[in-house]
Amino acid sequence: MSVLSYLIPISLILGGVGLLAFLYTVRSDQYEDPEGDAQRILSGEWDDRPKP
């Protein structure tokens, strides 16, 4: 049963990382324009470097 002492923290940490990533995306306005983001990926404007 000692395997549980690894697995439970690991599952919680992985889930927590997912949660934090989601909270980060919400806070940084990444759901403001879903349609625009879907279209922007097709344009070559910002492909070679990130937006300043």
């Binding site: 049963m1 919680l12 919400v26």
Partner: protein
Amino acid sequence: MTAAMRPGTSACPACVAAPAAESLAEQEAHEEARLALSLPTIHCAACISAVERELHRQPGVKSARVNLTLKRATVEAEADVTAQDLVKVLEGIGYEAHELDAGTLSATASDKAGRDLLMRLAVAGFASMNVMLLSVSVWSGAEAATRDMFHWISAAIALPTIVFSGKPFYVNAWSALKNKRLNMDVPIVLAIVLAVVTSLWETMLSGEHAYFDAALTLVFFLLAGRYLDYRTRAVARSAAEELAALEVPRAIRVVDGVEDTVQVSELAVGDLVLVRPGGRMPVDGEIVEGQSELDRSLLTGETLPVYAEPGLGVSAGEVNLTGPLVVRATAVGEETSLHRMADLVAIAESGRSRYTSLADSAAKLYAPGVHILSALAFVGWFLYTFDMRTALNIAAAVLIITCPCALGLAVPAVTTAASGRLFKQGMLIKHSTALERLAQVDTVVFDKTGTLTAGTPEVTNLGEFPRREIEVAMALAMGSSHPLSLALVDAAREAGIKPAQLSDIEEVPGFGTQGKLHGKLVRLGRAAWVGAQPLAQTSAFLSMGEDTARAFTFSDALRDGAEESVRALLEDGKDVMLISGDSTGAVEALANRLGIQKWVAEALPEDKAAKVQALSEQGKHVLMVGDGLNDTAALAAAHVSISPASALDAARVASDIVLLGSDLSPIADALNTARKATKRIRENFQIATVYNVIAVPLAIAGLATPLIAALAMSSSSITVSLNALRLR
């Protein structure tokens, strides 16, 4: 930096505050330079790049960003860049653009409440999944120390989550209790708290059953319902705000002969305001210069333009048609008659406040029922076993099982689906219970001008004129942008007629157009100007010099879909009425054309509202469709109301539903969708009830385990959501 540039300011001790004030001023200047443009036609990646590239190329533009979801561009620029310039630039590269008033939009700029709900939902989702994982291990046979450990870990995850994610429910329940009422949130909070307390107690005593997972899933499902509900309303609100923001409150003030564009809010009594042809009066006042015609239809429903000359009083909201007018303001802002009339709406008893939504009436039955049931279970089991722990456990199980997961989702899931569907057809549902009220409608009352008619005139007697006269009239009409002239030109062009050769064509604002045909004076305009008797209907007179002038008569063109919509409503067995402030002749003609039996003409705003009230008192459910300021009181008094996007802001605010396109035909469809949606809501309540009928006896008998609770709760919530999706 700014302080260093102005060393003199810090000389006095009071100026310590100056840098703060300066940075505040700087901030304001910064906000002023934030422009918003509505771009209704953009749809692809190429559009985004083209618009952004073009905007960036303009001098003074610091940054430009297109939002495709909202079809809107936000531009940050130097203070001297105006939105009109940018609109011109974008129209130059082929994109329709309109300026949006940043002040009106700012309310939606940051969606704090929605983000807050989403965060709580995410945390609840994370926690419920983890706890469910641990609970599954317990249900599949973990025992003794392992089970206790799993329960403790669950408690460690559940407790902070419940405190954080459940906050909206605690706040709502508390405010309901403070007002000595019961709402849906009271049993929810009680269930959550009781579940957590008994589970903790059980865990301390190494008990078998803990309901941490149930409490968390409950919070998760209910928050999902709340979030759906919120999203639907937020989308409607932001679209409604965008409509309002399209009317930029700006006016031209004349100071010592110099024209200056200012915000309407900056105007003061006594200011001289220039109103160009096609512009709307921003203030109440008196004309001091210029001659023109005024369109008062939005205020009174009258279609005949009124002749305007110095000395005539004007009210805010009237539209100037032909010549530029200078108006001296006598009342501004809140004092204008426009605002005073809009205030009437607030006083008129609103149809929506009298209505109890299905969810509320369900809650009224449900909340006391649940409390009584679980109290009875507690007392019964306590008397039977004299064991507090068992009795409390069973009471908690009853509360959890009956908790309105499905009820919480039943209404929002359906309204989200239905509103989404209607939005695609061009209807914006502004009020949360509008759909339910729409489903009950049995009487439809239409306004005439601007609602059933498009507000643009069309010629009715072109055939009575000889070709030569039409050619002359067309040539004269082309010299003016008056709505009647435009209609005449359109009609003549459609008949394949070319304009005659005239010389010296000039427009005389307020009267008409004149020109010379082979040296002879010809005129097209008002009756008095050409020496004829005025007619009762809208008309323009043509004078060819020698014989008496003849009149082109006009009627208001029907709005697209008006005929179909009225016919569909009549076929559906609805009572259709027409109430208008316009003259009897015009109203009767339109009523006959559309096959409407009941009509009232020359109705004052109070008459309209009184008629709607009277119908409601007879037990009818009235749908009012109107656009003008004279309709607003009636819109507010009706059971449910619709206004077109072209309506005045006050009318749109007073109505529950806004038609986004110019077409009226979605109205009949909307009634259908609303009926279907209400049927789905009722079905969902039935599903939830059936589930309670099966699960509650199990809980009261003490047979419900956390596993059964989880299964029942999830399956009923999913069934309800799927049933709602059938509406799409």
